[in-house]
Symmetry: C2
Subunit: 348 residues, 2 copies
């Protein structure tokens, strides 16, 4: 049970030297230049990622380009996520990686629907003592991620927090031909996960790639019945994919544990497994397919040779004899896996 | 020159008793219930304003309803704005009014393009010590404003700040048949403003109505050449409407000063005039029309009998003899009105 804001980040990690902190060190600060100069600086750094007004920064609203082709053949998607100092990054995290993370963690939600991002609005909430050099790095990381993911930053807002605090909120719009929902899995479906899980804090949480190509490929080529991304750990996230009166029967030996989690656990598999279930910030795709739907696996491996995909279990009906309310069980022993908890904000 | 975050709110006002503060007083707090319970509470409070998943809260993204009619005949609009404790409201501000303000200040930007709002995403950034009763009030105010303005809240995010801090960010999507831009005014155009200006902090900044009907009516019935909303005071905002090499020649006697500004200035017109130029948070429409376009005035008065609209001046070419860089002049004396400054974030 914790009531600090930084519990996602262990205290030992919090005590690193803060040479590149957003607020310590020398150089001009946000309050030295004011809002207008800062907006000019941001526009200049964003370059072509920010289209000319009225389609980008510069009017009361951004005017979206009309695309009837898009509207008639695809669904729009909308999502929002923040990065906050102490919760999602540390004072000495490289600012480019913070900007990058903000984009990829939002686009991970778009990817989890089988979609692609289009445009985004950025809100900066910051103390006036923010170093401009740090902000430049943040914007460059955000811009380069936007270029990589083929999306535009079309507007935003700035609001003042007390000194020493920074948060950035990105609202992203995307599109999908056939959005893959969380709520459409069925009993009997196989459960799959991309990549490996656990130990994200070692570096993955700043350097992952939103699984856009993978998500779109699955939506187009596989009869995926439900999909989501893993942000709070599969222990918590898996339960969101389960229909009422079902459990996830998991093959504990097949959970793909990351090298980072194994190293942190000093190769003790039980400890590493707990990390894979509970750490969160994996930003992998978790999805369900109807039973016997495996003919796509060879195509996947040709398409994404460096991205493992693993069947971790099956969705099963809750047996009538069940006594536990736990939604995850060991498929071999039938025992509840209720010591695993995903990340929870504000409390545990 | 100020480097505190609360300079929009005078210190004398900041020292009011804090009986209804978001963080002081008794009752359960955010951290007592955690994220999942809070999201349930928010969904329940929003009611029909939050459509069922996947079109509302509950999946990785919100899926937008397909509307080809909308896409082929109108332009999409996107904007984002925050309300932050100490910057946009006080600890003892009624929470319902804070939620209301967040909606109306965003929709004011949509209205300033001649548009109507469709949907929004809400991000809450808060200390874990936020009282749930305060949050309920905030959500009810936000919900009722969304109902009033015919928009839906389709998703959001929650992020943790240190104790005692609260900010909420709303990203709003809208539509307009013909978006009215800021950048399309011309020399010779008349300058108009709706309502009255100044003294917003007395109450208007919490209780104004976004001028949606007025903005749409102007876009449809008047050849408006440019439009924006007044959020930082006309001293600053007017300059955004002026083409290069032009000035705003203002009839100082015609500036519509609010009763609140006159009362605060103890009926001294010069002081009240400065408030009308500089206070900000008026959320009135500021627009330009080609010269001699006045045949709409009688229709306006029939349509909006309780909303004054005033011609405050004209856009004129910068005279070759000009020595000042000030963009606002007194049309009668030709003198620069350069002692007026609008609200600036982080510095002045």
């Amino acid at each position: 049970m914790s009531n600090t804001v930084s519990k996602r980040i262990p205290e030992t990690v919090m005590k690193k030297p803060q040479q590149s902190s957003p607020f310590s060190g020398t150089g001009p600060r946000l309050r030295d230049v004011g809002e207008c100069v800062m907006i000019q600086r941001i526009r200049s750094l964003l370059g072509k990622v920010n289209p000319p007004a009225p389609h980008g920064i510069g009017d009361d609203c951004a005017v979206l380009p009309v695309s009837t082709e898009l509207a008639s053949r695809t669904f729009g998607l909308a999502t929002v996520d923040a990065v906050t100092l102490g919760e999602h990054f540390l004072p000495d995290t490289t600012p480019e990686l913070v900007g990058r993370k903000l984009v990829h963690r939002n686009v991970s939600d778009i990817a989890a629907m089988g979609g692609r991002p289009n445009w985004a609005l950025l809100t900066l909430l910051s103390g006036g003592d923010l170093r401009l050099e740090w902000l430049d790095g943040f914007m460059v990381g955000l811009r380069d991620a936007a270029i990589q993911l083929k999306m535009q930053i079309i507007g935003g807002d700035i609001s003042a927090l007390p000194d020493g605090l920074f948060s950035a909120v990105l609202c992203v719009h995307g599109q999908a031909v056939t959005p893959i929902l969380r709520s459409t899995a069925k009993a009997g479906d196989s459960l799959w996960v991309t990549g490996t899980l656990g130990g994200s804090l070692v570096g993955h949480h700043l350097q992952f790639n939103a699984r856009v190509e993978e998500g779109c490929w699955l939506a187009e080529n596989v009869s995926v019945s439900a999909m989501m991304d893993v942000s709070d750990g599969i222990a918590k996230d898996l339960t969101a994919l389960l229909p009422a009166d079902t459990l996830a029967a998991l093959d504990i030996n097949k959970i793909p544990i990351s090298t980072a989690a194994m190293e942190q656990a000093q190769q003790q598999r039980d400890l590493a497994l707990k990390a894979a279930f509970c750490d969160g910030e994996d930003y992998e795709l978790l999805f369900a397919t109807p039973p016997q739907t495996v003919d796509w696996l060879a195509d996947w491996q040709r398409q994404f040779p460096h991205v493992p995909v693993t069947q971790i279990g099956t969705i099963t009906k809750v047996p009538e004899s069940a006594t536990s309310t736990c939604k995850l069980i060991d498929s071999q022993t039938g025992q509840a896996l209720d010591y695993f908890k995903g990340y929870a904000h504000f409390n545990t």
